[in-house]
Amino acid sequence: MVRPDARPPAPAPEGGSLPDAAAVDLSVQLGPMRLANPIMPASGTFSENLARVMDLDRLGAFVAKSIYATPRKGNPTPRVAETREGMLNSIGLPSKGVAHFVAEHLPAYAGLKPPLVVSLSADTVAEFGPAAAEISVPGVGAIEVNISCPNLEADGRAFAQFPDATYAAMSAVRAATSLPIWAKLTPNVADIAAIAQAAEAAGADALVVANTILAMAIDVETRRPRLGNVMGGYSGPAVKPIMLRMAFQCARAVRIPVIGCGGIVTVEDVAEYLIAGCSAVQVGTQTFLEPGAMPRLIDELARWCAARGIGRVRDLVGTVRLDPDPSHAEWLAS
């Protein structure tokens, strides 16, 4: 994959020889967790079925589809629609409940190396604590708290649309588990940094920025919405510039690590999120188009770093240069 704005690599560092891709240290630190590399799937775009096309042990972590404490059905079909550079989905978080997950899915991860991150949703703040306690079983490495799902106490708006609901939901989970907890934020907000800070204050160990953007498409012949649920979440390359901005804003607003998510296709996209301040990234939609996207990105990231004399991937994190470009000096002065 060649990215439209790909540039030739910068020249090798003076005097030194380039490291070999195999010698690049891909590991990253995510709060209390050390991951072998920064590439992991986004919730809802991965399952153990992917073992049919790749070696799961290569991933930095596993992130499962969001589950609720109790079983629930999903949305009407059509549940997806494609757009020019992305997709809409209104799957609607069908779930067979925590107990079913523990019994039916957890065993598939036993013996695999990467940590399993369980994504947890709930309808109300009160439901989060017990569900988090129930899922805190051996084999689960962290809980990703999907506070971008609708909060039934707030007229269906997401917890993560409000700092106070974010704080309440994350605090409930924090009190109920000793596992690392990640807050998955929604981009459907005016000020994501304020939400990020509320999650941090409630004890989140990391942030995932972000879930899908609420969007819509209409079939102009039938005049029906293209999704059975009328509106749905937008993901894929089209959303990347928005998600990158939000990840950058969050990384500057909090001290906990940020995991970037949205529109990753190329190794340059991964590098862009890391440089913007993310410690790791999640890959979603691209896996639907290219099931081997994550292992490809891991290989390419090692080569990309090697070609630029970068020995450790984590040295890229947050290195965006905000100093004024000399060629802009005239503008900044005027």
């Binding site: 809802g44 079925n49 992917l50 997806v80 997709m87 799957i91 639907f288 188009l289 290219e290």
Partner: protein
Amino acid sequence: MGDHCCPVVANVPVSARYWHMVLEAPPLACAARAGQFFHLKCPAPPGEPAPFFRRPMSVYQARPDRGRVEFLYKVAGHGTRGMAALRPGDSFDILGPLGRGFTLDLAWRRIIVLARGVGLATLAPLAQDAAQLGVGVTAILSARSPEDVLCREVMAEAGARVLAVTDSEGTSDPDKVAALIRAAVARAGAEAIFTCGSNRLLQLSQALARELGLAGEVALEQQMACGLGMCLCCVRAFRGADGEIEHRRVCWEGPVFPLQEALSW
């Protein structure tokens, strides 16, 4: 299983609306079973961007002896327009084989395959398998007009008894098709019925299978994103063991399902 870039050997129209594509893909040709599908990364049709999603397409023929995988498809929209633009020698990225195919009981004397349009593409390899394994086949091929009847030769060559029914001749309505099915059961000893795609054929098959005590399966279609059971977009409704309505993924638990469990829509 995985995604493979395969050279296109042939890609030609076989009627006004249907095309036939042959790919060179020796390992896949061995792996693919009747009823399974591939998930195709269709290229950009001329003057249009490439479609975002892959497109599911049944294995029409997978010939291990010739190392080829074939599709029979209708040019329906954006993705299949892109498919039709592929030329011999071009490379085509296909993911598969995916899903759960048909199951044949070798004790059956005869099966009925009932389909319309490109549904035949899905059922043709089943008919071939059955014939090869010594199970008789009655193929009821439904179409708008006699020119539109697909797979007549393939079915006949495989040894199937071919009955074409068409709208233009007035032979395709449910009553007349039901009479053919009854006859195949009563006179030729058919013990199972296989169908695919359309709601009308599903309802008819379910009703007759219930009435006549036939086994059977149906291959369903639904829009797909991942094709690997991960995204949950391709669900359809089924009557579960406990009588409850449940959702199953066409790409993962299917596309072939027990005939009586599928709910018509």
